[in-house]
């Protein structure tokens, strides 16, 4: 009998541990697999691990993660310990004590996201007082400390509860002063709990994603944020390696912590004191290192030009070239979609960026709200290189605020083997009888609703409630069909077609064309019903710390050769007429990059709908539900 229940216990335990570890095994295998995409074994390699150490973005994020964890742990350990001692030691009236207890428990029982949301609102208000509350390391430290305090206080409190007042009374009887009691009796007794609390705070900080995600700024991305955005973008293989490295560090940390807390279990042992001294020493050294690092980052920032643009949107060689020509340091900060960008801008990040590369559709909003300021066109002589079609756009007449970066379309990427010689139309998504296979939609509100409207023969900017709602229902059905795989942002759809998992995906043309260069089985087309055309433009923020450099950057991009190199890199169309001769004839004559006039007539720009955007948002929620 007993063995049977033991067996059951062991098998459940084994199953549970398996559930926790199997995914890590999968990622480990992927991280040493030489094959770049897909899960076929391509031989053993350490290349992805080496690449991790060559990515400046990852190294910087690692540094930020550490600084954040160390600084917030130090502050929260001090504050949390004081809080616990103060609540425990002094004779507070019952009601007040209950109130204090509540402030300790509140952060523990509040969902992370609610807490993060509250801080976003609060920092918004505090920024009106001082600009130091702009999103960055400082706001992240504040956020982390606030939720760590409670945990430190809880741990210390539980230890305090185990020893009565006798120790202090004895010390008093021996004529110890108040401070002496604290230093010689209370703190040494508490040390194991304080160390455990600090360790907990440290792991909580490393472990946190949600709160960091809500409060990070352009120069303070942490490793989890880097991984999250790469995952949404389609997981380059070195991310597997990075994850494994983080896992290994966690393993080391956990085992070190275990040894430490077990050794420190006996409060007054010399070992506990030695550990306390060691921890203090390490903290001191780390603190100095951190102060130095922060200082050097600050010094660097002064001469830095910060550009905020879509991810993987500029040839790294061009970044080097710009730095070489101007002697300035260029920092490219990436975003995945307009919503993310607008959120960061609204939350006060505008004055932390110099140049914003944004979609045409958001320009009127940015102008109206004073986020961007007029350009000094005299400083941008290369603007004369532009194709006249792009110098008087409806969203910014006369290019007063913006100059075009690149332009492109949204259409269908497809697997030629699945589609065969059938004509490409949007009905391949919306009409179940005509679907050639599995498909991926784009997780982008205006693009997807626009396509559905187009399919129905309406304008993509329709304000007719019934039309928009019908388009939403169409999309909702398309997401319920057997062939639907996912709705993904970034290049997720492209990757699935490349792997042969999907036959169709809604993508930006540049992504698809770059993929087609690697894989002969895939191609791109904008269906004849019409689709989205867009122009991304360069603007300068009103609060740009580095206006002159910002103008230099725009002028640099509009150079004929730079424009051509840009287009050869990301395979979008250039608005730069002078660049055309430098562009490969293959690209120049590719209808997927430069659509023929007959198709161009059917493409439509998305307009900024102002408050009417809510119509689309409500329908979109219905789609996503």
């Amino acid at each position: 009998m007993k063995t049977r229940s033991q067996l059951l216990l062991s098998s459940v335990a084994a199953f549970t541990l398996l559930l926790l570890y199997v995914p890590f095994v999968a990622v480990f295998v992927l991280s040493i697999n030489a094959a770049k995409s897909g899960t076929k074994w391509g031989g053993f390699t350490f290349a992805w691990y080496r690449q991790v150490f060559r990515e400046p973005a990852i190294l910087e994020a690692a540094q930020n993660t550490l600084i954040l964890a160390v600084v917030s742990t130090i502050i929260s350990t001090i504050l949390g310990t004081l809080l616990a001692i103060a609540i425990w030691r002094y004779p507070w009236p019952k009601r007040i004590r209950a109130l204090f207890d509540l402030t300790v428990y509140l952060p523990v029982v509040m969902p992370d996201i609610v807490f993060a949301a509250a801080l976003v609102v609060a920092f918004g208000a505090l920024r009106a007082v001082s600009s130091i509350f702009q999103f960055g390391l400082l706001t992240m430290v504040i956020a982390h400390v606030t939720f760590q305090i409670a945990f430190v206080a809880l741990v210390v409190q539980s230890r305090l509860a185990t020893f009565g007042r006798a120790f202090e009374e004895a010390a008093r009887d021996l004529y110890a002063g108040g401070f002496q009691v604290l230093r010689r009796v209370t703190l040494p007794l508490l040390m194991p709990a304080i160390i455990a609390g600090a360790m907990l705070a440290f792991t909580l900080s490393l472990d946190d994603f949600i709160i960091s995600f809500f409060t990070y700024g352009p120069t303070s991305t942490t490793l989890p944020i880097v991984i999250y955005s790469s995952v949404r973008r389609g997981v380059p293989p070195h991310i597997h390696a990075l994850s494994m490295l983080i896992l290994m560090i966690t393993v080391l940390l956990v085992f070190a912590l275990e040894r430490l807390t077990r050794g420190a279990q006996q409060p007054s042992s010399p070992q506990a004191r030695r550990i306390a001294v060691a921890v203090a020493g390490v903290v001191l050294i780390l603190g100095t290192a951190v102060a130095w690092a922060v200082q050097s980052i600050r010094a660097d920032r002064r001469r830095e030009l910060v550009v905020y643009m879509y991810s993987e949107y500029i040839d790294p060689a061009l970044k080097d070239e710009f730095e070489r020509q101007t002697g300035l340091k260029l920092r490219i900060v990436e975003y995945e979609n307009s919503e993310e960008m607008l959120a960061k801008i609204q939350q006060g990040a505008a004055s932390q960026y110099d140049v914003l590369v944004v979609s045409d559709v958001v320009v009127p909003t940015l102008i109206r709200t004073g986020v961007i300021s007029p350009l000094d066109l005299q400083q941008i002589p290369h603007r004369l290189n532009l194709d006249p079609r792009f110098t008087d756009p409806p969203f910014d007449r006369g290019c007063e605020y913006s100059l075009p970066y690149q332009w492109g379309t949204v259409g269908l990427m497809y697997d030629k083997r699945a589609v065969g010689d059938r004509p490409i139309t949007w009905s391949m998504l919306f009409d179940e009888s005509r679907q050639p296979g599995k498909y991926v939609l784009m997780d982008s509100m205006r693009d997807m609703l626009g396509i559905a409207l187009k399919y129905r023969g309406h304008s993509m900017n329709s304000l007719d409630r019934d039309q928009v709602r019908a388009a939403g229902e169409l999309l909702r059905r398309a997401q319920g069909m057997d062939n639907w795989i996912a709705s993904e942002g970034g290049v997720g759809g492209k990757n699935r077609v490349m792997k042969g998992e999907a036959a169709l995906a809604v993508v930006y043309n540049g992504d698809a064309i770059r993929a087609a260069a690697e894989n002969d089985n895939v191609a791109f087309a904008v269906p004849p019903e019409g689709g989205v055309i867009w122009v991304d433009v360069m603007t300068i923020t009103a609060g740009a710390p580095n206006r002159a450099a910002a103008h230099q950057f725009i002028n640099f991009i509009l150079d004929a050769k730079t424009g051509a190199q840009l287009s050869s890199f990301n395979r979008y169309a250039t608005p730069n007429a002078a660049a055309m001769p430098f562009i490969r004839p293959d690209d120049r004559n590719n209808p997927a990059i430069y659509p023929p006039p007959s198709l161009q007539a059917k493409l439509e720009y998305l307009h900024d709908l102002g408050r009417n955007t809510r119509l689309y948002e409500e329908v979109w929620k219905m789609v996503k539900r």
């Binding site: 995914p23 949301a117 305090i149 966690t250 959120a343 939609l441 998992e501």
Partner: protein
């Protein structure tokens, strides 16, 4: 002014008033911090829920309107719809299922670890701690990779005709459940372990001596001793499960909305006041759940004490 009577306090002759003054001095830094960065932000969020969206997406225009709450219960441009209710109900449901499954798996695991030889316990516990301390993004993304269409699990499922061949298991409801359980399970293991380790086995033996059935031993000798820990485990798994958006986002394929995703979507660009209203609702929902839980068992303070025990007992 009335003189505060002199008292003997921990071997020191003093007055209550002077003690409180000194206490406030020690308390001040933390209290100041928490007031500025926790209490006031919470109040600001509650106020923002009554404001309007500004011109730039995400901006707040201060005013007094109940519009956000009307939208929250479903009144939109197209009349009433159940969308938000469905999302909230789904969040509660999935968090509850996740919590139950986690407890079901964690309880035996805690017993298993606690009944090993002392030398084995800590390594095993550390094995649970590692995922607990690994970032949620990494854990969820690892599942995303594992469930991809060309990985062994999806192939096995396809060969068993559970899914169509070539299908990915990843954006699916199943994937969301797997992701949720494996993410929040370690939260439940730790308090349960701490409690099981301190279990008074003499009671179990006494019950056995009195010929209690195995079920009765569990029901009357073991369960009551671990009840507080079960409560803490429930809290620790349920609350983060209610607020998550990473799991449905990465494993649900952009179609699986939870309350957390709704908040993230509002703050991530479109409408901060509406996001504030939703997060207020989420908070009320969670606190309501906690209140029920607290009434059904011991006090929350005991539960929190249990939580702290966990941290000291666990590595």
């Amino acid at each position: 002014m009335r003189d505060s009577p002199t008292i003997l306090w921990r071997g020191e002759l003093t007055t209550r008033r002077s003690l409180r003054r000194r206490g406030l001095g020690v308390l001040a830094p933390a209290l100041f911090w928490l007031t500025i960065f926790l209490v006031l932000p919470s109040i600001a969020t509650a106020l923002a829920a009554f404001a309007q969206r500004g011109e730039l997406r995400g901006q707040i225009e201060w005013s007094l309107t109940f519009d956000n709450f009307k939208r929250l219960v479903g009144f939109g441009l197209f009349g009433w719809s159940a969308d938000h209710m469905v999302i909230f109900a789904r969040s509660v449901w999935i968090a509850a299922v996740t919590t139950c499954l986690s407890l079901l798996l964690a309880y035996p695991l805690a017993f298993f670890i606690a009944t090993r030889k002392p030398g084995w316990r800590y390594p095993l516990l550390a094995l649970v701690m590692v995922p607990f301390c690994t970032n949620i993004v990494i854990r969820v993304y690892a599942w995303q990779q594992l469930l991809a269409h060309d990985m062994p699990i999806a192939r096995l499922a396809a060969s068993l005709r559970l899914v169509r061949p070539g299908s990915s298991l990843c954006p699916s409801t199943l994937a969301v459940y797997i992701g949720m359980v494996s993410t929040f399970l370690p939260f439940a293991v730790l308090p349960l372990y701490a409690s099981v380790e301190r279990l008074d086995w003499s009671i179990v033996e006494a019950a056995r001596d009195l010929y209690a059935s195995r079920w009765r031993i569990f029901r009357h000798a073991i369960l009551p001793q671990t009840r507080a820990a079960l409560q803490v485990a429930t809290i620790l798994a349920f609350i983060p499960a209610m607020g998550t958006f990473v799991v449905p986002d990465l494993l649900g394929g952009g179609r699986y909305m939870l309350a957390g995703s709704l908040i993230q979507q509002q703050f991530g660009g479109s409408d901060v006041p509406f996001g504030a209203a939703i997060s207020l609702a989420l908070m009320v929902l969670t606190l309501g759940g906690l209140f029920l839980l607290r009434r059904s068992g011991e006090s929350g303070a005991a539960a929190a004490g249990e939580l702290a025990q966990v941290r000291e007992a666990a590595p």
